[in-house]
Symmetry: C2
Subunit: 299 residues, 2 copies
Amino acid sequence: MALLSALTPVFVAVFCLILAFLFKSNQRGETKAVRAGSKQESMPAKLRPWVDDDLEDDTDIRPKDQDDGDWIESGEREEELDHVPYQECRYPVEVMVQRSQDFYTLMNQRRSVRFISSEPVPRQVIDNVIRTAGTAPSGAHTEPWTFVVVSDPEVKHQVRLVVEEEEEVNYRQRMGDKWVSDLQRLRTNWVKEYLDVAPYLVLVFKQTYGIVAGGKKKTHYYNEISVSISCGLLLAALQNAGLVTVTSTPLNCGPKLRLLLRRPANEKLLMLLPVGYPAADATVPALTRKPLDDILVHV
Amino acid sequence: MALLSALTPVFVAVFCLILAFLFKSNQRGETKAVRAGSKQESMPAKLRPWVDDDLEDDTDIRPKDQDDGDWIESGEREEELDHVPYQECRYPVEVMVQRSQDFYTLMNQRRSVRFISSEPVPRQVIDNVIRTAGTAPSGAHTEPWTFVVVSDPEVKHQVRLVVEEEEEVNYRQRMGDKWVSDLQRLRTNWVKEYLDVAPYLVLVFKQTYGIVAGGKKKTHYYNEISVSISCGLLLAALQNAGLVTVTSTPLNCGPKLRLLLRRPANEKLLMLLPVGYPAADATVPALTRKPLDDILVHV
C-alpha cells in the first residue's frame, strides 16, 4: 500500500502523458486533414464538386512534381525589346458609336448551342478563329495556350467516350442535387451527341509553364486568366463567322483527354468547344441577360 | 515535508497538464499556418508572389466567413426554362471566310497600350462595350460580373494611389527578380500615370457567389473563368471601337479598391482596365505573336 502510494505520482504522470499524447495526435490528424483538403477546408468536399482535380489554378504554376526542375533565371532573359510608335485606328465619333452598337448587337445574338450540324466548315475559317484567339493579351506576353482542333471522326468519338463516362459520374455523384438542378433548366446532361456530330472539337489547353530552348522552364503568370480571355476572343470570332459552340469545362476529363491527344505534362485542359453550324432544328433555352444597370456601376 | 511529499502527485499532474497544453497550442499554431497558407504549401511563398491574397479562386465560392450563410436549396430553384428555336445567322461560305479574315486582322492590331490620351470618349460607347462584355457565357448562366466604370477624377486618383502603393511593394519585394526582369522588357513598372489620365477606368469584379431575393446565397460556378471570358469580349469590343487599354491584374489591391468603390463582400477585383484613345505619342514594345503552328494542333 505504501509502495502504491509512493508510485501515485508516477501513475498520475503516465496518465497525463497519455492525455497529452491523445491531444497531440488528435491535433495532428486535424492538421493533416487541412493539408490534404487545403482547397476544401471551408466546406464539405461534396459541396464543391466542380473543383477539377486536374484543373490546377494559376497559382499552381509549378506543379508539385516539377518543383525541382530546371527553371530559367533572370539573368538568362531576353534583352529589352525595342519600343515602336503605336499605329492608331481612329474612327469619327458617330462611326465609333455605331460600331460599338453594331458589335454589341452581333455579340448579343450569340447563344450556347448544343445542337450542331454535321455540315462541313472550311478549315480556313477555323484557322482564322484560332489566330484571333491567339491575339489575346497574356501575363508578361507568355501566350500560354494550345488549341487542339479535332476533326478526325474516330478521335472525336474517343473524346466523347471519355467525356460521357466522366460526366455521368459528375452528374450522378460529384455535382450534387443543387448543381444538377441548376443545369436542368438548361436541359444539360451527360449525353453529348454534339461531340460526334460537330465537324470540329476545339480543346483549349492552358500551359501551366513554358519550356524554352535547352529544356528549361519558364513561368506562365496568370495563365488561366489569360487563356480564358483568349477564349472570349475565340467566341467572338466564331459568332462573327456565323458559327456556334457551347462553352464546356468537362470536369475531371483533363488527364484522359490530355493523354488521348498526346499533349505534354505542362498542358491542362481548360475548355472544350464543339464548333460548327447550328443544326436546322436547334433550340436554346429562353434565357434573358441581366440589364446594363445590373452589371455596370458608373462612379 | 510530508505535506510536500503528499502534494507531489498534484505537482506532477499540473506539470504534465502544462506540457499537454503547450503541445496543443503548438499544434494549433501549425494548423493555423497551414490554413492561412493553404494555397502555398507546395512551394515557398516567395516563389509564388503572384498569388493575390484577395483573388480567391473559383473553388473558394463560399468564403470562410460565409460558411454559415443561408444558401438556396435545389427545391427553391426556378422552373425549367422554355426552349425556343435558335435564330441562325448564316453567311455564304466566301463571305464567312472573308469575315473570319477581317476580324482576325482587326483583332491582331490590338495592343496593350500604356499611354492613353485624356481626350473624352462618349459614354455611350463605354456602355455598349460593357453591354458586349455582358453577353459572355457563364457557368449555369449566373452572369457573375460587375463592371465599375470610374470617370470621376478624384476617385481615379484614389485608385492610382492604392495601386501604386501596392505595386511598388510588389515590384520591390513580392515579385522577385525573375518576374520583374520578365516585365522590364515591356518597360512596365509601378508608376501608373494612365490611372489619372485615362477618361475611364474599368474595374472588373467577379462575384464569388450571388445573392437572390430574400438574401439567400447562390453558387457561382466557374466564376473566374466566366469573368475572364467576358473580359475577352470587352477587349474585342474596345478594339472594334478604336479604343485602347492595358489588361492589368493589380496584385493585392483588391480589398482596398473594393472598399474605395463600396462593392459588397461577394465581389473580388479581377482586372483593372484604363480605357481611352491612345496618346498621340504612344509607343508599344515591338512584340511578335506566336505563329499559328505554335498554338494550333490539328488532329
